[in-house]
Symmetry: D2
């Protein structure tokens, strides 16, 4: 049994990690931490966990945790994550970091969008944890930077087109819509029920911090520098991200040809489902699961391809992908604990 | 492997049965039927099932199905269910019926609230499938009548009080609120998003068909005839029933005493969670699972006890309980396939 | 033109007062206050008001405000309200107080449920502002205590029965469900979108502070001391309260007879709509308006009457009723500014 | 008093027309029609109207209606509208048509996207009823084609840029999201609460019927043929459309410069609110009103402008704009009956 700790367990990403991990046959959760709820059972913080995980929330003590844990999930805000991760690594733990601290390879870019980086030396070692693209590198890694939720949906949606050089990289637009759990569990007025319900808005237009992460990975795929417009919106649903991506095709390709190309690109990938024909995905059909469903249309009139990809932001966009990375890092079957059937409705 | 058929697979109860059954280790789904979607893969009807269950919807042919299936779940409307169940039984299948057709033991009562009964002889044989109360009878049964969603929440909420004779049976009130999936998947104006969203109403006041079912079971518990007021309301959520039950206590008992009494009554019951102290349940914390969470308060001022019980109407109120019954009928561990952790939020 | 100030304008009750008042033909809003948003235009706090009310939020300075305002709406938390109201009265302003500070006539009861009262002498003078019951007293009042949202729905629902002595006062139960705006606009974790959406729960069972207010007014109607069980629940909608009230009838009365009795009792009341026949109300049909819709059913089997009443908690349960009181106090037509047609859906 | 008829009153557009018209000081509603609810009071179909409009639903008899009505609103499906409109015109009524039948000037385009046109001669006469662009032509018109909801949001959002020739017309993308009332009130499975709630999807990608209408009007503004990608999505809210529009700027212009340009373009337009600074609109802040709120950002990195516009699809996207057109056609003040303050939350 792999012993894992969930550091920062009282947020939505934390509880989702626990939901998945308690059903994982080869994992034992040995520790959960929460500053806010120290000494409370995590099942009192989240009654959903009652009877599944009744551990007491501990303070974040690296020495105490690393003495027990083989692998640590850090579900902390950026900056807080990099304050403890180097010590966990030194103590011999593997780390899957769900914050943004090790996702950007370029320290300067990180510091432009976030703040000073306190362990820049680890940036080169950290592996960007999108297994569909970096499985080989994730397997031996000590430190995996779990991708952002928006980036996961956009990168998986555009990878086949960029890898095959089929689109004009100067025409990329990603119009994304995220459920409200992406805003976290801290008490902010903007996240109140009455502020979000029956509302819809864009935010962070041309200024969202996920932009450099998306561009970094799209540039790797295109093997040249890619810039895009990324526009996030806030959806009045608990879970789910849908990204509608636009690009101009360099050659005429039908919807069917593109659909086939996507199927080949993602052949064997359990968590990518290319929808049949002209079907388009719905966040409702991946809820609670690690799937990324993709549909696409080639518009002959305008010469553009429109790719629509959906994920559950808390699963493939966070906790599920983190467990998928853990599976790869620890030599488990990649889908272990993640064969969850979506509950509809 | 037990071979099961899901008859009437294209409703919300049907898809929920499939969601649970595809993860059940000792079950093989051999057949799904749908008149409306005949010849379509069920995973096209419900893309959530894509890759988990891609069976083609068949017509409802008892002979063809009973040749393959050991046990049949009938997720049909009342009246349609009793048109086929006798034949399934004759053909040697076990049946778990999710309709109302075999829940009422008294034919006259059935005919007063529904219509003529076409196989009244089976009413005596059918077992009311609430395993927490009727486990012994369910085990050897050929035909189990799966309880209604409202009745499940109310009967489980009141059983300890009635069994112990602690309340005045002339004072019973059950004020229940159900998510919209309880109204089914047929296209009715009253179930449209814009009619339900941001709305809330009572319906069927003093006239709902679940009333005689509730009274039948409460009367068994009380060993005398019980009448109650049952008031259903329509909640703008997909899943969940919360029942707030009121009764006058015959003797002074504190909340703590009652809480302990409930814990004893349901000791060892995996799917009943009595909340600690004065905690009150929330439908959000049982979503997608077979749990019934119960909280209660004794009001010293008025002498009443208020019991609040919640279930997921599609799981403990339908498909989950049906699988629980199947487990009992087939000698499987009762919780098999039902150890689902609630996803929150 | 009556000059009015809205003290505490940045909550949901505050913005609702402004929404209604800007369309009132005989009112000029001369001042809005907000500690949190001091110096900001209120239309930046609430972009919905842009072009309708662009006043700058002021600090709460009684002298400065009373120099300009004829009437003050205090939309402050309890305790904060009674800290300023005596001074507004001394300065010659009329006051409609939306807090709980002057609703209870008995100082001891107030202090049992809230805290020490700092101007108990005003309790005798304050008029309980339910115009349908206290119109005569509201008209000449200096200080009107605007009723709570839950009490408004329950008192209006039960008044005809109690006034006519038709029910056993020992059998009263009010099971109420409120939209989330009732929890206010302050940033609390329990009011976050993801905590409320797709959830439903009871809270404050047998312990909610509106209980003594409800019992006070029901006792006046019954001319004897009434106790009841009041159970509030949190609905995942922005606006609306639905109260389902139960009581045992002292004599056999049909639904029709009771319906007629309600029509007579509320004859001429513009804001009370008794639904025809057995129709039951829906919060969706009073949204944004000052209406209280009532439906009822007499259950011959159990001898109980079930009354269902709905209001918009922010309008008839707060701001609308406050404006109605202002109209009565200032000799305007009672419906002025309140002839709002519900927007459906 | 202008006498108006609402033909097709039992849909969401119909009830919204009635909501607005009953408060219009210079209008008398003389007739409502509904085939489905013939002989029922419209206030029984929509209890929200109780006490405001209790007219009986009539059959659609042109002779009977035109004998009483000066102006007719046709809130019928396309095809049904053009079956009666020529007769209403012949009978001397003015008509505001809320269907798509007279929006496209080119008969061939209409027939390509819809079906055969049965009164193509009227296409030249019909005026496209977007008063901000066609006020002069609307004033004397007999027949006004009320714009579609999506087109209204997109055309108003892009008009200043196209009129000033500031963007590359080959780069236009409109990513739109609409509330569910846009799907109408007919009972379709895809519009059920459980299908829409907690879901989000794109539909009609590169194939939606509003595309030619949008392109027609953008081409007029650009004075050359414009094609765009228009992608509609279904939002789980009752009301509201948000369109996120992308275009490449032909010259470098800052967000401030563009914001000023929009303010000038729409100076004096009561229903267009250009948000200050970098503020972005939210459908919640225009709910129930005739406003179109617009925010925009110039992205210096990519050279694109992102324009976000929001409307209430039932008001500025349908009934409100229809009343605005009526006001212009009948010489009333354009804002009469439309000075509605948004209710938030």
């Amino acid at each position: 049994m792999l012993k894992v700790a969930v550091v920062g367990a009282s947020g939505y990403t934390g509880v989702e990690l626990l939901r998945i991990l308690v059903s994982h046959p080869d994992v034992e959760i040995c520790c959960v931490t929460s500053r806010q709820h120290e000494c409370l059972p995590i099942s009192q913080v989240f009654p959903s966990l009652h009877g599944f995980c009744d551990l007491i929330c501990e303070p974040l003590d690296v020495t105490a945790i690393s003495a027990r844990a083989d692998l640590v999930f850090t579900a902390l805000p950026h900056k807080s994550a990099m304050e403890v991760i180097p010590d966990f690594l030194t103590a011999g733990c593997k780390v899957v970091d769900l914050s943004a601290d090790y996702r950007l390879r370029d320290q300067a870019v990180y510091e432009q969008w976030y703040q000073e980086h306190t362990s820049p030396d680890l940036l080169a070692e950290a592996v960007y944890g999108l297994p569909e693209l970096y499985r080989e590198q994730v397997a031996p890694a000590r430190l995996v930077a779990n991708p952002g939720c928006y980036p996961t949906s956009i990168i998986l949606g555009l990878a086949p087109l960029l890898k095959h050089g089929l689109i004009d990289i100067h025409t990329l637009i990603a119009d994304s819509k995220s459920g409200t759990s992406g805003a976290g569990r801290s008490a902010k007025q903007g996240s109140l029920f009455c502020e979000v319900n029956e509302g819809f808005k864009a935010y962070g237009v041309a200024a969202h911090r996920h932009t450099p992460e998306i561009e970094q990975e799209l540039s790797v795929l295109a093997t040249e520098g890619v810039q895009l417009n990324f526009t996030p919106h806030l959806l009045p649903v608990n879970r789910g991200i849908l990204s509608t991506c636009y690009a101009t095709l360099l050659e005429k390709l039908s919807s069917d040809e593109l659909n086939n190309l996507y199927r080949e690109f993602y052949a064997g990938e359990r968590f990518i489902r290319i929808l049949p024909g002209n079907d388009l995905p719905n966040v409702a059909y991946v809820r609670g699961t690690n799937f990324c469903d993709i549909g696409l249309v080639s518009d002959q009139r305008t010469g553009r391809v429109i790719v629509v990809s959906v994920i559950d932001n808390l699963v493939k966009g966070a906790a599920g992908q983190a467990v998928q990375n853990m599976n790869v890092m620890c030599g488990f079957q990649e889908t272990l604990g993640l064969e969850i059937v979506p509950a509809f409705p």
